[in-house]
Each structure stands twice: as C-alpha cells, then as structure tokens.
Symmetry: C2
Subunit: 421 residues, 2 copies
C-alpha cells in the first residue's frame, strides 16, 4: 500500500478529526433539538433486499441504487434513502409504534450517481417525520422543529419559504391541457428561483402552452394567495416560536418531488448561496404507495453537507471542549507516575487530556502541543516533585504558572486564560 496506496473510491470521503468533529457537532446539535420536539431515533440496516429499494421512485432512481448478489445469491442493495426503509419499519412494526410516531433518522445513503462538486456517492441524510396525523399542527411542529434546529447550530438568520400543493394545483390546473399536465407546469414554475421569467415562459411554450397562457400562468402563480390551511399552519408556527419575519409564503416553490400532497417548505440561510439547506412537506399517500400501509405523514430532510458547509462558512464551529485541552508532558522516569496522576485528576474534572507518550526533549513536547492547538502543557519534573507543585504553561501566551500538585484545579475561562489554585 505504501508504493501504491489505494485511495478512497470516487464520490466517497474520509473525514479526518477536524471535519468529523464539526459534522458530529452539527449532528448532535440537531438531534438534541429533535428530541426536544419529541422525535425518537430509529436505525435501519445498510443492506436491504433489492426488491424493497427498487421500483419505488422510477427508472432513473433505480439506476442509482447500488445492488448486487450476496453470497447467498440474494439480490441486495445499499440504503438509497431513509423513507423507503422507514415505510418498511412502519409496516413491519405497526403495532409496536406510537399512533403518532415522530421519528428521526440520521444515516448514510448511497447513490451510484456521477460524482461532482457537492454530490457524493455516500452521504448523510437527516430526516424528521411525523406519521399518523393529518392535522395542520403536525405541519407546524415540523417547521418549528426545523427552525429550532438551524437556530441551535447558531445561524442568526433562517429563512423559511412555504407553499401548499393546493395553491399550485388550484392556480395552475386551469392552464393544463391534454398535452401539458399540471405537474409539468409545476416543474417549470419550481425553477423560477434559478431561471428568469422569460426562460420559464419559453420552457412552458416548448412544453406546449400558448405564449399567452404561459405568461398568464406565471402571472397567476406570482400573485397567488396562501390557502387557508397554509395560513393556519403559518400562524401555528408563530405560536411555536418561529418569528413571522422568518417564514414567508412563496407560491412558486414546488419541491420537485411529485409525492407531496399539501404544505411544502424550503429552508435557506441568508448569505449562504449554495442552495437550500433543507426542506420538506406533507406526503399523505407515499407511505401507502411504498408499503401498502395507509399513513399520512409530514416531514423534512436536512441537507446535511450543505448545513455543515454553511455553518463553517459563517464561522459556526463546535465548541472546542472536545479537543485535547491539556498535554501532560513527561519529564523523566522518576516522575512519570505523578504526572499520570495529574492527568487523571484533570480528566476527572472533565478536561480532555493527552499524556505525551514518550520521554522526548521538552521542546519537542511543547512543539507537539503547539502544532495540535493544545492550550496548556502541564509538567511535573523532579524540581516540581520536590516542591509538590506542577508547572502549567499557557501555550497561547507562553506564561508559566506554578500550582500546588495536590488538589489541582485548572479553570479555563473564556476559552483561554487559566486560573490555578
């Protein structure tokens, strides 16, 4: 491997500590919010029968499912999304699950897609869904939970755009023809955040609408009013803590997927331009289509990679308490054990501590601490041992302080600055 070290496969990624910590922190932060909203975690296998995974979202999707024959000659496949396995769980475990099942699921999925910037073959999905309720309060809970999760990461502004399939269908169905379905018109309308009105009109005309009707359709959707259902949902999200400035009706968003049946929404972070960081909506028929089990549902998916990227771009990073804060240097054989006791004392106080695992020159140990961004080096050599103290070196300022060895307490305030008693 040294001479011809294999790399990762294209579209797959290693996460080294800095990035992994950032992602873990995002995941943990989001999951904690989910739990505050009553969502419960589930996990499904990475491998499923291929028959479960294919034939669900059309031929194009089927081509992207990783399938193969296992050693028992079964056609199996890698998890393609989290909705299909969840539909299976709902069907298999119907009687063990709450009537109103709020589940969250954070696992990797696999797509045999062309890798390109921001598109991977293995990536994390992060879904919340509320099953079993058709009430608008369920829609509002999903939106409020999403809003809280983005806020918990630290985004100062979170922008939610909502719409209702009923608004799209109600406004646009009169423009549909035998040739051009309302779905097809909606598909074009959905692009209005990326293409100009002129281009949208062109596209509708190419699909078969008259120039006049294409213009009228776009004018109609631009001035559409929210449905009473949507107004109700928006008001409830406000009661649930979403400021009215953060949630806006946008009659032009359609969220692509055909399976939505009611409210749909999209979340963006103002200032982050790579696209929406999440979205979802109500899909009351999909679970039945997938599993035969009649089950209304409303949910949302976090764009995990984009959310992590956006956080990084805005300087929102994990609190550093998980990284090594203190390096206990080793000076000589005779003081190792006392040094280890100091390390242990600090760990019991909750600090992240490394013991330098070699009797290298002190300069080398300081250099290591510096390179690793470790804040403090604690040393206990023969001199310190005689005096019953330790020396604490602040790697940022270079200051050295002596502290009583017994009952050592290091208080790290404001990230930096040490008070030792």
């Amino acid at each position: 491997m040294a001479n011809q070290t294999p790399q990762t496969l294209k579209g797959f990624r290693d996460f080294l500590p800095t990035e992994k910590r950032h992602r873990d922190w995002i995941e943990r932060t989001i999951a904690e919010v989910f739990e505050r909203y009553g969502f419960a975690p589930i996990e499904t296998p990475t491998l499923e029968y291929a028959s479960l995974l294919t034939g669900k979202y059309g031929d194009e999707a089927d081509k992207l499912v990783y399938t193969f024959k296992d050693r028992g000659d079964r056609e199996v496949g890698l998890r393609y999304d989290q909705t299909v396995p969840t539909a299976r769980v709902l069907a298999n475990h119907q009687h063990e699950l709450p009537k109103y099942f709020r589940r969250y699921q954070i696992q990797n999925v696999f797509r045999a897609d062309k890798p390109q910037k921001g598109r991977y073959r293995e990536f994390k999905q992060c879904d919340i869904d509320l099953f079993g309720s058709t009430a608008p309060v369920a829609d509002a809970e999903i939106i409020a939970c999403a809003y809280s999760a983005y806020k918990a990461i630290g985004f100062t502004e979170v922008a939610i755009q909502v719409n209702d399939r009923a608004v799209l269908v109600g406004t646009l169905s009169s423009f549909a023809t035998t040739e051009v379905s309302v779905s097809s018109i909606i598909t074009t309308i959905d692009k209005l955040d990326k293409i100009s009105q002129e281009d949208a009109i062109q596209e509708l005309v190419a699909k078969g609408l008259t120039q006049k009707n294409a213009k009228l359709a776009i004018a109609a959707i631009s001035s559409a009013k929210p449905s009473p259902n949507l107004e109700n949902i928006i008001q409830m999200t406000e009661s649930l803590g979403v400021p009215s400035s953060a949630i806006n009706f946008n009659p032009q968003i359609a969220r692509g997927l055909d399976y939505y049946t009611g409210m749909i929404f999209e979340v963006t972070i103002p200032g982050y331009t790579a696209g929406s960081v999440g979205g979802g909506g109500r899909y009351d028929n999909l679970i039945e289509d997938l599993s035969g089990l009649s089950m209304p549902a409303v949910g949302m998916a976090f764009g995990f990679d984009r959310t992590a990227d956006a956080a990084l771009e805005m300087g929102l990073i994990a609190p550093s308490e998980n990284q090594t804060q203190v390096l206990v240097a080793l000076i000589d054989e005779s003081t190792i054990k006392d040094s280890l006791k100091v390390a242990q004392q600090l760990r019991e106080q909750g600090y992240a501590v490394e013991v330098y695992p070699a009797l290298d020159k002190l300069g080398k140990q300081f250099k290591y601490a510096d390179e690793q961004g470790i804040w403090y080096v604690v040393l206990l050599g023969e001199e310190e041992q005689k005096k019953g103290v330790v020396t604490v070196k602040d790697m940022k300022t270079g200051d050295q302080t002596e502290a009583a060895n017994s009952d050592l307490v290091i208080t790290i305030s404001d990230g930096f600055g040490v008070s030792v008693r």
Copy 2:
C-alpha cells in the same frame, strides 16, 4: 408490501426507538470518555476498493468480505473492520495527522458470516488506538481509557485481565517443535478459560506435543510471572485511576489474533456471562503489513453489542430526559395557539415535548401519554384560558395541578414529582 412485507435480511437489524436510544447513549457515553483521553474521531467510507479489504487477514476472512462489482465495473467491498481503512488513512494522510495520533472510530462493519445468536452481518465496531508510540505509557493510557469508559456507563465492577505476548512466547517457545509452532500452542492456551486443563492437554497432544510436555507447558504458563514491561504498564494504569483490584495479570489470555506483539488485555463485567466486552493490545507490525507505513500501535475494541447487552442486563439505561416528558394536549380550536405557546415555553426550558396532533377526546390523549410513558400532560382549554392558567396532570400519580400560564416553569425533580410556579 402490506401483503408480502419484506423483512430485514438475515443477520441485519432494525433498531426501534427504545433500543436505538440505549445504543446511542452507550455510544455517546463512550465517545465522551474517548475525548477526555484525547482521542479524535475519524470516519471512513462504507465502500472501499475490494483490493484494500481482501488479502489482509487470510483466506477465511476474505470469504467474509462483502464484495461486488459496482456500475463502473470496479471491484468494491463493504467495510470489514476499522483497522484496514485506518491503515489506509494513516498512509494517505500521514503528514496531516499528529505524530502521536489517538483516533477513535465508531462505525458499522459487515461480515458475510453465518448469522447466529449474538452474531450479525452488520454490527457496530468501536475502536480506540494510539499510533506512533512504543512507550508503555501508551499501553497504560489505552487500558485506563477503556476502564473509564465502562465505568462511565455505570458498571460497578470492571475486570481487566492483562498479559504480554512476551510472557506467552518466552514461557512456551521451549515446548515448540518443528511440528508444533509456539503460535499453535498459544492458540490452545487461549482456550483455557473455556475448556478444562485436561481438554487443553488432549488438544496439545493431538497437535503433536508429548503428554508430558503438554502438561509441563500448561503448568509453566499457569505459574508464569508478568514481564517487567507489563508490571510497568500495570503500575501506570493505577496512576491513571484504575484500581489495582480491577486489573489482574493472567498469563493464559492470548487474544487469538496473531498480530499482537506486546501487551494484550481483555475486559469482562463480573456477573455478565456472555463473554468479554472488549479487549485489545499492542500491535507494532500490523499497520506496516497493511499499509507499508511503519507505525507502532496500541489499541482496543469495545464489543458494542455485548456492552449494550450487559448494561441492559444490569439495569443501566439511558437517562430518560431524551424521551418525551410532556404531552401538550389539544382541547379545542380556540385554544390551540395558546397551547402551542406553552409547548414552546417548555421546550425552551429544555424539556422534550410533544404536541398531540389531533383534537381527540381528552381521554384518548391521556391514554396516548400513558402508553408512551410520558410523565406529564399539560392542558389549556377555554376554562384555563379564562383564568390564565394551565392544568398539569402527573401521569404517574394522577394528580392535577393548576399553574399560571404566563412564565410557566415546570420543575421535574428526581424523575417524578412536579413543582409548578
């Protein structure tokens, strides 16, 4: 799917909320300890080039690797363990990683093995390793970290048995013959916790030792003394907080795998009889064998499933604060919004709160709370709205308390018992 719902593949598992929460809690608890010991997380892809995964641990292991041709006709395989991908990461990212790299990794691995009780085709591995140091203090850090992690889960007793490959080889090599290698003798000795001395003697004789030498070999290993290296490591673990009663020299453990080169250890939970819950040791040549990169290493693997089982068996379960604690009932249309505000207030205080997503009869809502093990139901109907209060029902005692709606604070003490101001 309703009529012929596919199940999970044999050897694969769904984790529903109760079990998933238990496992998440174990994982989080262990990971927090790892970080206190300075270990940093990495993540590697689920799929790798098959050439990376095979030819590493022998033909038997190769048969257990899930391999297949992807759509680009590449031979790929599912992660079989975490050591081989980590060796690749060490080789690929050598210059980005610390000289003394403490990494932890918690991911699922895949084995096309015969499923049986306690053996799965997809299961979680949980490894810590310290790369780059040959110092015994590194061995001691691994053992101390493992001990702390089991203690953090709440096990009152944790038993660590340690040995040194040098003890095994030093004691047993004089019994090796051209016919019977010392490795082969060690393999039999390793079984002494499961088979009787007589059976072990039989096995050694069957392998080709004389009856006399078989007996002598077992007697010799039974009375072997720890190596100076091992004594040193044991003493250092004590400085690192492992009580001397918890760590014992056992010259008979060998940890099967040939790749260990020094200290080896095994962790059991007294009272849990299904086997060891973890183990590891020093392996200074393996990373070079795997990747060509010369890199001493010492580490350990948690038996995740067994650790989770043992915890459950001993009544150690996740603190319940992640489960829904409060159900906000919905009484009628006119009080929904005020009810939602109450839900939001409680969430802001950190409680896990569900809003009941339907205007069902109150009895049905209480029943739901009861079935889900939710502690409190908060209601705000027209009467409460007039009085500016909410009613809080303690589902355990049945007691109902009224509390001022504005500035609602519910204090949940000792798990149950509510004080409302």
